[in-house]
Symmetry: C2
Amino acid sequence: MSTARRGRRPGAPDTRAAILAAARERFASVGYGPTSVRTIAAEAGVDPALVHHYFGSKDQLFLAAIEAPADPADLLPTVLAAPPDQLGAAVVRMMLLVWEGPARPAGLALLRSAVSNEWTAKLLREFLVSQVLRKVVSTLGFDPDARAARASLVASQLVGLVMARYVLRLEPVASASPEWLVAAIGPTVQRYLTGEIALP
Amino acid sequence: MSTARRGRRPGAPDTRAAILAAARERFASVGYGPTSVRTIAAEAGVDPALVHHYFGSKDQLFLAAIEAPADPADLLPTVLAAPPDQLGAAVVRMMLLVWEGPARPAGLALLRSAVSNEWTAKLLREFLVSQVLRKVVSTLGFDPDARAARASLVASQLVGLVMARYVLRLEPVASASPEWLVAAIGPTVQRYLTGEIALP
């Protein structure tokens, strides 16, 4: 069961912090997909059951590790319910809904940290790819290379929208209504998702 | 001539630094357009001729103040020589040319600073708007509100491309060839420049 290889015991006050530190290290160095709760537990010197007890699923552990401003699992079903030709607009609308709400400070903190710290950049990339973009793009039936190309193009526009609206405050993007942004930027995301995009 | 109201004299070792500090303060607080070399000189306590002697034009003073990675005046003529229906591709190609070259570390430093410091964010915004975007968009003959809307949408995609390729390193955008990015993202910038975009 518990290997306690760093001398920590389950239930010790720093157990939760040790699990989060191990999770950050593994998710950033190996990526979300190949990392198991078992590996993180071993790295933290605790029983995997304790990781589940503290954090629930691997998804939820990941969100805690990056201090995610919102849980995509709560939001994606609404996006994925959009008709395929409305998916771009639905993605932009959902992103703005999150960023216009109480999650914005945590989102900005994550972005700031990612820009100055390569480790956080890796975690944010893993978050965007594994928790958001891959789930949206996988509904469209492309092969894996095309999915990755489309997902990273979508990310380039969404991250840029956040930067222009909330960080650089470029007008009128900074103070425009969400629906104007959906109308202006939704078609870009739609083209990246379903339009003619050659493989790199 | 020199007002020397802070006790500095022209030619004192800190004169150049005082001019740059005054320039950063004025450009960030008032913006590029309304700020004159004369105001900056008065703020720094030096003669305007000395500002011109050290930095040349107001444009060049601004580039020095934000430690700009490249001078748009050297690059924009090539972009603006593109046919109107190729302008989006030309903008993306030029931006990648700058970022693939020796200017990248300075560009990333500016971006990092802008994300964590509101003052630098204002300067970077002024730089993008006054030195780059306004000059590209003004060739297309829209009214001022439409120009601002189009310019800020273009910025949202270009800043996001920089973030995805050089900061978050999202694949395949991170390692794709510049020409693939021009083909994939050029049409987005083209639509923001010349397509159907409602006013906010």
